[in-house]
Symmetry: D2
Subunit: 336 residues, 4 copies
């Protein structure tokens, strides 16, 4: 059986996902596309999935009987509308992060999904599909290092462009840690603190860079993360779990060890797109498989909601310098 | 377009390849199977590719008009027959290593393929498809470490069973290095030496283990490889290229760095099947793609022949303790 | 010229220092000892420096004309008295950490030394003499990683005994980081925060373990340190400096890389005494040399005072959960 | 008690040893010096040990009643004469490598020492005093990796000057491995082979560089060593012992791990003098101590003889391309 997919949003990430779902992965085909820029949708379809129909609106695509499942890769502010419409149409929907741009919108999606009586929504947090994080979770879950107590993490980008401003270090960058670390230790956050200090001379104008974010979980795990988006030297993702009996760390990408010019070392990635590129394949392949079986096995609407609430708390913590509590609605049994 | 494949040999590796070609990879389907044990072929087909026809003989499968391309995963001594028959039928054939059990048989395949006027044969040396070796080749080819001068390699297995005897350290184990190192430095071998020494107490009865093999290439590169198939500690593949300006090494599989019980370290693989498991997917996916395009992009019949000649020389070198020249027929233009 | 030294306090560390100063290092000899337990002083002298005189009191030892310089390795609460007496006698004095048990006492020493008009006091913070920290300071000072922005540190002990209680994680353990990190980044602290979380099941009764301490410096460097004194796995000291252009980390002790039993790894130290044992030699050898030349080149009374004030602030921060300012008297020109 | 030492040869290494023995180490003082260039001896003494007498000849220095023990750091061809004279005078003698320039001369020293009835000679193979090799020997001797079977080694220099010619790769460079590896595995060599291949473009004129040397020991251990003295990238000493149950490797010098400019790595030493500089201190300190106690605990005249015979065999193996047996006189009981 082949899952017939409609993709809303044919920008960069949309095109990448179309490429995966139509040709690279098994069990899926892209039958319909839409974009706010219809001409772009036509050009992309022509190039990547010429047999797909181009729909005038996202709603039309969702309603099309040929579409089994929806992928939302449009502009963030439009996510809520298309996800809600997919739920209303009873169709499985894969929505790139963020699930919606506010916690309230995420909550509306959660409530709509519960009302629909069936899980339909998956959020595009791809790190859960990274082989390294999966190995690390397996070690943590095995109990080999005892209960996790502390996590030391870093999210470093070589640089960011001028339009990367304000709280994007939280909403665009740290958001990945928010989801994956909660999944890693299987625990919820209860508070957030942001510690700002000396600013790098490479940070543009108003950008605070780097800073530390400290999250605490219900069971008391303390998670510190360095967010440094102009670190110059490479795209560098670190995660060390300190448990009662030992530590376990995220493996780094395997690269060629070299000795040259008085240095022993290896190359670091400079382009973040390469770091988790395999994860996108695994993510979508598993989504296609689970969707075909009528299940949601990846990050749920609840996870998307939890990430949004946490992100809001971090932004507030950064603004105030205070330790900000993270408060959500009670977790519905629906998601247990 | 979907490549319709017939698989001869439904043993362990045959079943794995059927699983890949029928369901996991894109662009291929398994339409026919055969095995010397017909009942086994039926059971395997039932389980993995129920729509495939079961042919009474390999020849019948090859001749079947529904079969576009042939995969030979039968017992080594039968390879020559099925590869020659595929060539005779004008059908692309992927043959697991060895291409044939003697250098003479390999030469007959080479000559048949040349006579057929078109490359049809690919040999299953999967290491060329390993991400690590590919990265290493890219570094070497880039000239960043200068011309390669020496290679230090190791092929270590935790242990081998009682039926692993005689020269299998060369014919079954080192054969992988023979192919991949020649590809890595893009050079041919001219001599082989085997240096035996103290035998591990873990080596059964008559098995010489470990030993060193020294190959020399036409341009003078000296390649030493430790073959140690009862090393106990793990499945461990090493390759360091020493160039005029630096060294570059095969990356090791990315695993979780841990600190525990007074040790800082990480787990080694104990099962060789896991080390190159991804390579098989890449190998067959590229073969399917190239075959669909009417090309051979992987190890050729000539490579299979060269490996067989080299393996023979190593066996002779082990028997005599001498430095044995490696002499082949001239490389036909057909393979340039 | 040989420096004639009197040692007050012949307990464990006292005996080690006597061994160094009388036989292992050059340019010094131990001519006098004293201990609150006079019999112990006699036994130790007999064994390690039989020609030394045993003095009935620390004051008598300090006053003895045969003593050129004093080493104080007695019980912490007695440090202030002996250091002040040495200053009063105009004799150079090396005092093991802490300089004194309160910030006020340290301030009295600072004032006495200034009044004496000449630097005489050195405090036993030995990490500044560790080859690794020295290499790291050299890299940081070279500007190769740009201005330091963040430090990520860890101080881990396998376990601590039952009498390790209360705030000793700060006063006995973290005190080393307090001094060495201030020296490393050549900056002063302005605030401290302690973040407690989940407690290890290996922590005895009332001990909070592990926790994070966050210091901020005048220029804005944020320093987080994990203090974990029942980490089980080893004695593990970590320090990573994140600068504007790169990171640099404390090298770990060189140990034998091994592959064994499905692990690639190396042994960690379990005994803290071994980690900095070479540093004590370097520390005292440099002190003997500098003292002979009439100089103080190591941690000064001011450094001891600053450490005491910082330690107090950390204790307060742990008690209150608040970010506590670190406020000292103005730095006297005397120490510039 | 202070050992009064006479040093013959006040060139570079002589000056370094005088610095150690007269001021840096404990228990020794340099009371006499000599050099073939008497003026140089005078200048060096003036600078480093002004109270030492300058003797007109090495013999006069050896005969001087004020000299307890002799250090020979003169030109290689003069070693035999001074070592024999020291033995004749019944004085302990530390001779820099080589013990003598021919195996025959070494044998004469061995015979003279036996005739004298007491061990007096130590040869300056300093690697046995390196902390890394000592750790490695401890691991090997502990049996943790089982019986050693293979050693993979490398001796790499960034570059050598124009006067480094002919067989100096063996007689000056590999000679260190010859001694330290024999000590490491506690076994004697029985054969040598040299495998030459492609020559680096950085090798001057006639120098063969790099090459592999293969030694075999009495118990069958196979030792391969890469000698590469124009490797460009750093001074790099490698040694991996492969045992029946695992591998153990020489630790590399601890240096600062850095991330910078898209590289994760650490600096390599470029200057060989720094790699074993600490070993010289340990070597001479232990020699002073043992000599004071009337013992020889370091490399003996027999070790110097064995190294010379092995070196000769390697030179012969390089000349002929053959596997050359290593044959010595029977080991006298005197050295057991």
């Amino acid at each position: 059986m082949t899952l017939k997919i409609g993709v809303i949003g044919t920008g960069a990430i949309g095109q990448e996902h179309i490429g995966r779902l139509h040709g690279k992965l098994v069990g899926s085909t892209v039958v319909a596309v839409n974009d706010i820029n219809l001409e772009n949708a036509r050009v992309v379809a022509e190039r990547l999935c010429p047999s797909a129909s181009v729909h005038a609106t996202g709603q039309a695509l969702i309603d099309s009987p040929e579409v089994d499942a929806v992928v939302v890769t449009s502009w963030g502010p439009s996510h809520e509308e298309f996800v809600l419409a997919s739920i209303a149409a009873g169709k499985p929907v894969f929505c790139e992060k963020p699930l919606a741009t506010t916690a309230e919108a995420c909550q509306r999606i959660v409530e709509a999904e519960i009302a629909a009586g069936r899980q339909l929504v998956q959020v595009g947090f791809m790190r859960r599909y990274d082989a390294g994080y999966r190995q690390l979770k397996e070690v943590v879950a095995s109990g080999r290092i005892g209960a996790p107590l502390l996590l030391h993490c870093a999210h470093r980008n070589p640089s960011v462009p001028a339009h990367y401003v304000g709280d994007m270090g939280i909403t665009d960058t740290f958001i990945h840690e928010i989801d994956v670390l909660r999944w890693l230790v299987d625990d919820d956050y209860v508070s957030a603190q942001v510690i700002e200090g000396k600013k790098s001379r490479h940070a543009l104008n108003d950008l605070s860079d780097p800073y530390m974010i400290v999250l605490k979980t219900r069971s008391g795990v303390v998670i510190d993360t360095e967010v440094f988006v102009n670190c110059q030297f490479g795209y560098d993702i670190q995660c060390q779990v300190v448990g009662e009996d030992g530590t376990a760390s995220l493996p780094e990408p395997a690269t060629v060890p070299m000795r040259q010019a008085s240095q022993a070392g290896r190359a670091l990635l400079m382009d973040w797109k390469l770091r988790f590129i395999d994860s996108y394949d695994v993510e979508l392949q598993e989504w296609v498989q689970a969707t075909t079986e009528g299940k949601v096995t990846g990050p749920t609407a609840w996870d998307g909601y939890f990430a949004a609430v946490t992100s809001d708390a971090c932004v507030e913590a950064k603004r105030t310098g205070q330790i900000v509590p993270i408060t959500t609605m009670d977790k519905p049994d629906f998601y247990r």
